[in-house]
Structures are given as structure tokens and as C-alpha cells.
């Protein structure tokens, strides 16, 4: 399931709901991305999405991960709009029969979300605002899966 939200969400509650009722998935892996303060250099994040298109593109990534890693299920919750330091931005959870596939699929989905999901991120700080684009490290991370 893919959800874009504009209000803060509770990762623990999301994960509890995602785990509930599973009898055949022996493994659930999860990742929570949190907005960093960068020692005061970032006072707020602003994430822009393209409603409709963003969910559809993430849906393609999830379908690809499901096929590649044999997932039973996956959850992506992603904030957009204004986000304060300390607030969760993204939750990815993956369910599979055994742990390795769940861990790898979670890592894969995060690498894709960082540099291929249709979001545009602006950092606001004392020195002004700047648009963040994928770093060399983000591009190296995604290249691991080719």
C-alpha cells in the first residue's frame, strides 16, 4: 500500500497494523527516514509531490521490488508539504517469508525513493532555502541494484 500524507504520522502504529494478522510472512523489515536538523542548518523541509503521478511511480517501484524479492506485501508512507526536523518523512515496510528478502527489498525501495520517486525537496535554513537533488552517494546506492 502507498500513502502520501501531509500530516505527521506514527511509524509504530503503522508498523503494528502492517504486522497484524500475518501467519505466513516470517519477516517484516522497516525503515523510517526522519528530517534532520543538521545542527540548526535546516529549520524546515518542504517536499513537493505530483499527486497521482507520485503514487503511480512509487507503485511501479513496489511492484518491481515485490517481483524481484518475492515479497508478500509492502507499505510506503511518505510525507509531503512542510516537515519539521525530528518528524518522520518516510516509512517503508516489507514482508516476506524469510528475513533476507525483507531487508534487501526495504533497502532497495529506499534507494529508489531517494533518487527516482517524484518528490522535490527544499531545505530551509538560516542561510536561505535550497532545492536538494540526489547526491553522488544516492546515485551510487541506486547503481548497486542494476
Amino acid at each position: 500500500m502507498i500513502r502520501l500524507v501531509t500530516e505527521p504520522f506514527e511509524p509504530g502504529a503503522e508498523l503494528t497494523a502492517f504486522c497484524a494478522g500475518r501467519r505466513e510472512s516470517g519477516a517484516v523489515a522497516s525503515f523510517v527516514g526522519i528530517a534532520r536538523a543538521d545542527a540548526g542548518q535546516t529549520t524546515a523541509l518542504e517536499l513537493e509531490a505530483y499527486p497521482g503521478f507520485t503514487e503511480a511511480e512509487i507503485g511501479k517501484m513496489v511492484a518491481e521490488a515485490t517481483k524481484r524479492f518475492g515479497l508478500h506485501d509492502a507499505l510506503v508512507v511518505h510525507r509531503h508539504g512542510a516537515i519539521a526536523p525530528g518528524e518522520p518523512i518516510v516509512l517503508v515496510a516489507t514482508a516476506s517469508a524469510h528475513r533476507r528478502e525483507a531487508f534487501e527489498a526495504c533497502d532497495y525501495l529506499m534507494d529508489y525513493l531517494k533518487s527516482r520517486a517524484p518528490f522535490w525537496k527544499k531545505e530551509h535554513g538560516p542561510a536561505g532555502a535550497r532545492w536538494v537533488e540526489p547526491t553522488a552517494r544516492d546515485l551510487d546506492d541506486i547503481a548497486r541494484w542494476d
Binding site: 527516514g33 513537493e48 505530483y50 503521478f53 531517494k114 533518487s115 522535490w120 532545492w131 544516492d138
Partner: protein, 80 residues
């Protein structure tokens, strides 16, 4: 035709959504029209990593447009 700009392109242009009537017949004609009114934006649309989507599907190269089209210009993406 609805044209959407995202990320730094919206800041550069000073708008994020605009209707074009009459609608240009092709993506290249739309870009040429935008460049006529705003040369810096026109150059940015052809800049590195900027992609276009027509009716929410990424297009490469040229695309035919109609008055009902929704065209979006997408700079490099960064989620998470």
C-alpha cells in the same frame, strides 16, 4: 492545456501551474512558446536531468499535445 512546473523550475518561473490556450501541438512547440516569454525558464526546461511528462507518463523526445493534455516538467527528484 495545463502546464505544471515542479521544484526549482516553479521557483525560477514564479508560477507552478498555467493554462495555455490555444494549446501548442507538440512538446517542442510548447517549450519554444515558454522560452519566448521567459528565456531563462526555456533554457532550464532543456537543462540537465529535466524530464517531461504528458498526461502523467514520462516522454522522451517529441510528443503530440492536445488542448486536454497535462504537461509537467520535472527536475531531478529527491524523496525520502
Amino acid at each position: 492545456m495545463r502546464v505544471l512546473l515542479f521544484g526549482r523550475l516553479g521557483d525560477l518561473a514564479g508560477w507552478r501551474e498555467r493554462a495555455f490556450d490555444p494549446a501548442p501541438a507538440t512538446l517542442s512547440a510548447l517549450k519554444a512558446l515558454i522560452a519566448t516569454g521567459d528565456a531563462a525558464l526555456g533554457a532550464a526546461l532543456d537543462g540537465p536531468g529535466v524530464r517531461a511528462a504528458v498526461d502523467r507518463a514520462i516522454v522522451r523526445g517529441e510528443a503530440a499535445l492536445s488542448p486536454a493534455s497535462e504537461v509537467a516538467f520535472l527536475p531531478p527528484m529527491s524523496g525520502g
